[in-house]
Amino acid sequence: MADYNVLEHDHVPEHHLVEKKDEGRILKQYSVGKDQLPKIRKSDPCIKILEEILGADIEEGRLVRIVRTHSVSGVSVAYRVIVRG
């Protein structure tokens, strides 16, 4: 699977790593703590690809912005926090 980029698949929405300085603003916007956000595993194929794209290790606790497209609202943005596993 080394050459294959999972982000290219139709079923996979856009994943973006959130800059550390933006994290506070986002958490405040939803008025939640990091532990209340949905989670994504560090071993998730999408995180692995992101690591490859950025060329750096992504540590646990960072946020990932997920931009989904679907028929109800067109575009929706969700956040997931990276957890161990």
């Binding site: 079923h11 949905p38 989670k39 994504i40 997920i66 497209t69 609202s73 067109g74």
Partner: protein, 491 residues
């Protein structure tokens, strides 16, 4: 000893004794050989010999071209380049979210001025009407104001108990579902579980669905409409094991196995005898000498023992000659103006690596597999898609948002969890809520032993103790502070 093993293993694969000795003397092992750079082999062998060797041990040609990955300084640089390349093609993300067109931009600007937002689909719809009507900015603003008003009215209230609403909205149509239905995907050969059993399967997050199925799209744009090409691809991914195409006879006198291929079947599946020999030699478990004799293949164990012969027979019975592991059947069907391959059995990881297959559209109905290969977000999407397809196939209209809530709950933890005792309901933080669901006494006993504390945050536990539940108006607390009011009045 290790050297001798290597020599034997190479000879078994049909490499000449001289070459094998040379390789083994150079300190290679079979595993190393497959990874070894081609140039390194050339130091010990002549070029045709090295080529022949790689062919025989089944190393891919592709590997040889990009082989110069020895421990030189060039290696990390190559890695960097790869990363940059990936970045350029993927992070610019052209396909998934469309940019706003001029009309939509105008509406978005007006919304921006008012410091409010509307979902993209509503903006798109508005822009479509605006295209026909061409309203003045002033009128458009009025329209948008009204849209905003309606949008606010239709939004669900904070603290509404959406879980119950969803449960009822999916549950009621569920009662109308037929108990057991099968659906035939175009051709009568492949059937998939649908109806209530399938819905239960999705919600239970089974590791393997009862009827795994893949929809494989073809990569080549020009040949998508060519039925012969599609048939060729289908037969190339269909798993063919040796007993399908050949008879295996045990020759006890000669202490060997004789494989007698059925030439008609070979022709129809486009398999040559050489490719069977290749597949047999590639099988690592088979420690034997494989030889061709006319149209039959004989296999002799290294040590003449009946036990070995029997073991070999068992291995050969499972030997895969062609295709992808787990794909039991593949049929083609025309969908729109292209041919699509439907398969019984599923192997997403291998299928996406296949050169004929469109790796951006090919999908499977096995949600666990998607979660492993494509990640949790893709799994979430496929839960929604599969559940919606199952319901709509029965003519039941359930709002997508209810299904999305279920999918969100199932994928909340980073991997797919079932709804029920082993999944979400069994992992609630409150003891009373868990006890109210299933296996009451076990939960209460365990909680008693370890001294669990219940903070009474949820619905079930508050009903048990007879308090107002924390949904709707019960979720907010109003506190009147006379001191504060006096102060405000004074100001």
């Amino acid at each position: 000893m290790a050297r001798k093993d290597t020599v034997n293993a190479l000879i078994r694969r049909g490499v000449s004794a001289k070459v094998s000795e040379a390789i083994a003397n150079a300190g290679f092992k079979i595993g190393d050989l497959k990874k070894a750079p081609f140039e390194l082999l050339l130091r010990y062998l002549s070029e045709p010999d090295a080529q022949d060797l790689l062919d025989k041990i089944g190393a891919k040609k592709k590997h040889m071209d990009m082989k110069p990955k020895t421990k030189t300084k060039a290696a990390p640089k190559e890695k960097d380049e790869k990363k940059l390349k990936v970045r350029r093609t993927d992070l610019v993300i052209p396909k998934k979210v469309k940019d706003l067109n001029p009309q939509e931009k105008k509406i978005a600007e007006i919304l921006g001025k008012k410091k409010v937002s509307l979902p993209r689909s509503i903006i798109e719809e508005l822009a479509q009407y605006q295209d026909h009507l061409n309203l003045k900015i002033k009128d458009l603003e009025k329209v948008i104001d009204m849209v905003l008003e309606q949008y606010e009215l239709h939004k669900i209230d904070p603290n509404e108990s959406i879980g119950i609403v969803s449960a009822q909205s999916i549950g009621e149509p569920g009662t109308q579902m037929t108990m057991r239905t099968f659906h035939y995907a175009g051709v009568a050969e492949i059937s998939t579980t649908l109806g209530l059993p399938r819905l239960i399967e999705i919600v239970d997050a089974r590791r393997i669905p009862s009827t795994p199925m893949m929809t494989v799209y073809l990569k080549s744009k020009e040949k998508r409409a060519d039925s012969d090409y599609a048939r060729m691809v289908a037969s190339s991914i269909e798993e063919t094991i040796l007993p399908d195409i050949a008879g295996v006879r045990t020759d006890l006198d000669g202490m060997k196995l004789v494989i007698e291929p059925d030439m008609k079947k070979l022709d129809s599946k486009d398999i040559s005898i050489d490719s069977i020999i290749f597949a047999l030699k590639k099988d690592r478990r088979l420690k034997a000498v494989v030889e061709r004799e006319g149209n039959t293949i004989t296999i002799k164990p290294e040590v003449p023992q009946f036990r070995k012969l029997h073991q070999m027979y068992e291995i050969i019975r499972e030997c895969r000659v062609k295709g992808i592991e787990g794909i039991k059947k593949a049929v083609i069907r025309k969908q729109g103006d292209e041919y699509v391959v439907f398969t019984e059995g599923s192997n997403l990881a291998k299928m996406l690596e296949n050169d004929y297959v469109d790796s951006t559209r090919t999908k499977t109905n096995s949600i666990m597999e998607i979660s492993q290969v494509l990640g949790i977000e893709a799994a979430r999407k496929s839960i929604v898609d599969e559940a919606e397809h199952t319901l709509s196939e029965q003519g039941l209209a359930v709002d997508k948002r209810h299904i999305m809530l279920v999918a969100d709950m199932m994928s909340n933890d980073g991997d797919v969890k079932a709804i029920g005792r082993h999944g979400i309901s069994g992992r609630k933080s409150s003891v009373l809520a868990r006890a109210a669901f299933e296996i009451t006494s076990t939960h209460l006993l365990k909680a008693g032993i370890i001294g669990e504390v219940d903070s009474l945050d949820g619905v079930a536990e508050n009903i048990i103790v007879g308090q107002p539940v924390t949904v709707g108006t019960g979720a907010v607390n109003l506190i009147y502070s006379p001191e504060l009011m006096k102060k405000k009045k004074r100001d």
